[in-house]
Symmetry: C2
Amino acid sequence: MDCDVLVIGAGILGMSTAYHVKLANPGSRVVVVDWFGGPGQGNSAKSEGGFRNLFTSETNFLLADSTIDWMLHLEGELGHHIGVSRIGYLFLLSEEQYSGQRGAWDRIGGRAEMRVLDRGELEERIPALVTRFEEDEEAELLGLRDVDYGVLGVKCGAVDADALTRAYEELFLGLGGEVRYGTEVTGLVLKPEMELEIPGEPFVWQDALIRGAETSGGVIEAETTVVAAGVWSSRLMDPIGVDSHMRPKKRQIFAFKDPRLEPLFHVEGLNEFGTMPLTVLPKSNVLFRPEMSEGSVWMACADDLGRGFSLEDDPQAEEGYYTDDVYHVLSKYFPCFGDVRPMNSWAGHYAINGFDELPVVKSVPGMIYVGAASGSGIMKCDAIGRVAAALHAGKEEAELFGGRRFRVSDLGIHQRRAERETLVI
Amino acid sequence: MDCDVLVIGAGILGMSTAYHVKLANPGSRVVVVDWFGGPGQGNSAKSEGGFRNLFTSETNFLLADSTIDWMLHLEGELGHHIGVSRIGYLFLLSEEQYSGQRGAWDRIGGRAEMRVLDRGELEERIPALVTRFEEDEEAELLGLRDVDYGVLGVKCGAVDADALTRAYEELFLGLGGEVRYGTEVTGLVLKPEMELEIPGEPFVWQDALIRGAETSGGVIEAETTVVAAGVWSSRLMDPIGVDSHMRPKKRQIFAFKDPRLEPLFHVEGLNEFGTMPLTVLPKSNVLFRPEMSEGSVWMACADDLGRGFSLEDDPQAEEGYYTDDVYHVLSKYFPCFGDVRPMNSWAGHYAINGFDELPVVKSVPGMIYVGAASGSGIMKCDAIGRVAAALHAGKEEAELFGGRRFRVSDLGIHQRRAERETLVI
């Protein structure tokens, strides 16, 4: 056996899992492989990096809330520069949208730090925001909703996902973990539990299990193989018939730096920085946030029906996407975007779990799969890594950062906790 | 609009849905398209055709039990020759397997017609069966379990899936439904709810919906498009980003006709035909059944880990699969298979829902998806068609054949009834 645990994928979930597995088993040999040259270079570092604990399902709340606590600890007490800025998370909502989620606000209000702002307060604090579109024919054509409420998550914000992944790498290496970059995994190794040395093994009548991976650096045998390859997981798991429970969906980010966007950096009373929070518009799942480190604004859109499932080799932001699909909506609510062009853009993929949009942490003989995080893997990374490590240790419960407990099988398949999240973007 | 309802796929689920939709809306124009030249030519007619009501989950039981009642009615009262033979469904189990499912037998016993046979009775009735492998080194190597119990589903058996699909077609055509064979669907048509005639529609800010399909016979516009294309559904739905919740998995059937298998046709007391029931071995999910019409035996195997997800254009049974993967197990339990070679074999694909192996009937704007039946679509076909028709009619409940009611959202996604089925093969 070349190692005890082989982790495929040095993205945020792979690194978090590797760290927590190694932490729980300091004497064991844990090896992470990735075909990129560094950590988080797949989709983690392409993330928009927002985090929130505003969720209606208990599962989502626990995963995210404890991970936020961990990130604050990582930067505050442990001194890792991961760029956590608690700029807040602001849902702008119409009366109808707000009322439709009344049960949600009640559930969230009791546990997250949530503030509700009415239209008057929004208009006062955010002069750049248009809340009413009376008589505006273009707004009507666009189907824009008026803004009646703002729901602000105070314990929310943004993190440098790249730095966060690197922090895990540093912690993992500090424990004696090994990472091999530039190593392509070409397949999982399936073996019979009891090898008979007959060509063609494993046969159907043999109990089979995963015993490592074939890589560009040769076969790496492992007692346990963790597949945390994000949207690429299917390429490894499909050939052995293990469901990754996810489909890749392209996501684009457009970055703006323009003096006309200055008003977004001068907003009082919503966070400690005097900026707009990460802001979700009432239409088309368009969101943007200030990126404090560079004084820019990052914009994204979680488009759904019509955005196909596909995995592009070199995904790029689409020129017309901003102009035709997002710009009109964005500039109606925030006219300061008028005629401002993106200075930069990039794209990646979400690994969407079409059933409940919750991550999957499941075991298969010899293997653990960690994935299908549906675009919220970064904000739940620490909890997911702990759940995976608990599964590896054969425990029924994981202890999340801060001491709260989480039933491991809640993220599995057969006894999965089915809870509908109503606050989806 | 070319039609009210366009059903893509003339397989068993498409035809059942088309029939039930047409039955509920006699005046509406319902059109079925399929690229094959007749009904059920994809995977339906390749099925092994077994049916059972022995399930532990309420959902599975209702779907299958009511469909069995329907099939008996279809053949008995309506006079369609669909080859229903209630040969029974026999699970051969070790003591451990039997005990592990004790809760299941209790649940099933109360509603299905189930008989438990002990080893003595099995040996007496089935002289061809080997129940004990003491001192047999090969059996030990194969990991074979002794047979201690037989659980027999009396209201189970086999049906001619091809004839069943044709019966639906006949009923559907009789109501004035239309079918166009040899029609390839190349894509779904996505339109904005309110068309503005701008090139590039629908944009992200428009509410979009499915409005029919592009086919080799031109665009067919429809108020509602039903996608029931089985394992091919992803090819249509992936491009618009709608999850089919299934992955294709190859399944093979081997047919035998040999005097040495005569003992399987002379078994007293298990069914009215004096034959073996459909029989599931205690190892490797190997099963076989007598095919009454031709005096042959059909054998299949539901292999799992190691059998990849993939969709072959022209799937064929694999020569070595019978010899290396199944033969040894089969011929140990039933030595009459010794040296008997298959006279015929074929292969198709299951559409496996990796979450709960239950079918999915869900609505998307302008569209209904019916699929992911995980290999048990035929035995649940009538209930699934009724659920789909109820969803189309906007009803919360479907009335199954015989009058039992079924909550439509139980097969949807957001309020899906999560129930673990423990009797899986």
